[in-house]
């Protein structure tokens, strides 16, 4: 079983690395979008799924990464990967004070605080003349998508690896303890602020790095696409569809939905927000735990009839108790 898993992972990696060299623009674009959303979904999942702090504003870091990359490329003419890396680091640095302040707020307060942060960042970007204001910035055109794809693949792979580590580490258990009951976690000796802020920093760096690649891919940045409500909503819906707070959920959700959502966005941009918003509502009622936990519960039931998952949304995937 374990060997089969490793073989599967190696095959997937080889395919993801070499197939893009031989496919045309349309499929490469779709593959890029899929990998991008896998990364974004993992970014959202760490702070919201594992630590239980629902953030509707991670797109702020995506936008900051995009703008940093754009401004640096125009100002310095450095290679875009260096600029995107700086953008990601900047997001991580910014996440320290923002996280220290925001994570003192709980539940809906934190969610609204982050929503407001993204809104404020967008307003600031559109009013700043140095960043091109509402009309944005143009980057040098004519670049190939392939390097952006590999960059995004590396970030998404890293996001998966970090989530795997969180899922198997004491740090992950600390986050989950905070999610279940923060006060009890604190009395058991978990340094809650430290754990929460660390999770928040990771959840900020991932979209920051992805935003840089996105800016280079679009060759044009403006407030609405950099701080895109659509991208934010889509990564949240994908995470919840796959199973929030699980290792595999964001991957499954993003892979299943990217093609559908891109087709919807291309063909029905007017109805897009309505359909995705409605989908999120229906999903919460019909399949609140997401696909991955639902399948895991079913498999567990088949092997041990008495076992069953009584998991809540945002709960860990079923498995042996790790206490």
């Amino acid at each position: 079983m374990k060997i089969a898993g490793w073989i599967g992972a190696a095959t997937a990696l080889v395919l993801l690395l070499f197939v893009p060299l031989h496919i045309n623009g349309y499929w490469l674009n779709l593959l890029y979008q899929t990998v991008l959303y896998v990364g974004l979904a993992y970014g959202f999942n760490i702070i919201s799924g594992y630590a239980g702090y629902f953030s509707f504003g991670q797109i702020a870091f995506f936008g900051i990464g995009a703008y940093t990359t754009g401004a640096l490329v125009l100002a310095t003419h450095w290679d875009w990967t260096i600029c995107a890396l700086i953008g990601g680091v900047l997001c991580g640095v910014l996440a320290v004070p923002i996280g220290a302040v925001m994570l003192r707020l709980r539940g809906p307060f934190f969610a609204i605080g982050m929503l407001g942060l993204a809104q404020t960042a967008r307003v600031l970007a559109s009013s700043s003349s140095a960043l091109g204001g509402g009309s944005g910035m143009y980057l040098p055109p004519g670049s190939s998508l392939l390097p952006v794809y590999y960059w995004t693949l590396a970030v998404a792979g890293g996001a998966f690896a970090i989530t795997w580590w969180i899922d198997h580490s004491a740090f992950g258990l600390r986050l989950q303890a905070i999610r279940e009951d923060e006060a009890i976690a604190a009395t058991l000796g978990v340094s809650t602020t430290r754990a929460k802020v660390s999770a928040f920093i990771i959840s900020a760096i991932i979209p920051g790095l992805l935003g840089g690649g996105y800016a280079w891919f679009l060759t044009y940045i403006e407030p609405t696409s950099a701080f895109s409500a659509r991208v934010d909503l889509q990564s949240i819906v994908m995470t919840i569809l796959g199973g929030i707070g699980t290792l595999w959920g964001p991957l499954v959700g993003a892979v299943l939905m990217t093609q559908v959502s891109e087709a919807l966005w291309a063909n029905f941009p007017q109805a897009y927000l309505m359909i995705f918003g409605g989908l999120l509502v229906v999903l919460l009622i019909v399949l609140p735990r997401g696909i991955v936990p639902a399948i895991a519960t079913r498999m567990q039931k088949r092997t041990t009839p008495s076992a069953g998952g009584g998991m809540v949304m945002g709960s860990a995937q079923p498995g042996p108790e790790r206490t």
């Binding site: 609204i112 929503l115 809104q119 404020t120 109805a271 927000l273 509502v281």
Partner: protein, 289 residues
């Protein structure tokens, strides 16, 4: 000196309407502990409906108020009855799923608005004049919105104080178990509260249609300002909401004069974060359990 008086007048007039919008948000939060992220979208849809009706048939938005409020009530009651109530039982206790549901609803309503009204900015060019009092000028539209907001807030207060369903709503928001023990039909109370909160949001949107310009994707700022108002005033406190609205109204009026309108848009957010950090219970808040 005149400038300061003028800004105080502006802040007061704005505060009245902000207070009304926040009252709707507060009823829903008080009874159900649900933060309704679709609140601002209801405000915007009501305002756009009025702008549309004015553009086509020159109907005064004030005449439409009963209908938009009724529409808001029906939408709100349906949201509670058919969506929130269906959240799986073990999940309904958690804030995260109701929050995420209203987040999805917010985009649904924004998309619906985009589909119906299109993406352009709309407004109601009605009562554009101003009353001059010495050096102070009072825009008629804002004055009318302010007076109507105060009247509606007063009616709401009477309803909550003297009718039996109003008493049941207050009892439920004070103590759910106590209300259940006294035979309050919690399901009915929740549906009525969500309907009432949404009706007030729609009424606020109708009044704001005179004052601002709207586009279907403007909902989130109104949600944030309503949340800021009751967070400043203290969640669940009605007098606190009025006070919070005045604070926010003044802050926005002064910020737009001294720092420009862009920063004034960020004022509710900045104020909300500051108050949350310094006074987590708000100015007049009771302890949230």
């Amino acid at each position: 000196m005149d400038t300061v008086v003028q800004l105080i007048v502006n802040g007061l007039l704005l505060g009245g309407v902000l207070a009304l919008s926040a009252l709707g948000f507060n009823i829903i939060f008080g009874v159900m502990r649900v933060v309704n992220l679709a609140h601002g979208d209801l405000v915007v849809i009501a305002a756009l409906t009025c702008a549309m009706a004015y553009a086509h048939w020159h109907i005064n938005p004030l005449l439409l108020l009963p209908f938009t409020a009724l529409g808001g009530f029906v939408i709100g009651a349906c949201i509670q009855r058919f969506l929130l109530r269906r959240l799986p039982a073990e999940i309904a206790s958690g804030e995260a799923s109701s929050l995420t549901l209203t987040f999805g609803l917010s985009y649904f309503l924004a998309g619906l608005g985009l589909w119906i009204f299109g993406g352009q900015i709309r407004s109601v060019p009605y009562l554009t004049g101003a009353i001059q009092l010495g050096a102070i000028s009072i825009p008629q539209a804002r004055l009318l919105a302010f007076v109507a907001a105060i009247v509606i807030a007063g009616l709401l207060g009477v309803f909550l104080r003297y009718t039996s369903i109003g008493r049941a709503i207050r009892a439920t928001s004070m103590n759910l178990d106590g209300a259940l023990a006294c035979g309050v039909d919690a399901d009915l109370v929740r549906t009525v509260s969500f309907g009432l909160g949404s009706a007030v949001a729609a009424a606020a949107g109708t009044l704001l249609s005179y004052v601002y310009t709207f586009n279907p994707q403007d909902g989130i700022p109104f949600t944030i300002s309503a949340f800021a108002v009751i967070a400043i005033g203290g969640l669940g406190s009605y007098t606190g909401a009025l006070l919070g609205a005045l604070v926010l109204g003044f802050a926005q009026a002064f910020a737009s004069y001294y720092a420009g309108s862009t920063l004034a848009d960020a004022a509710p957010y900045v104020l909300f974060v500051l108050v949350m950090l310094v006074l987590p219970q708000g100015l007049l808040g009771r302890r949230a359990s």
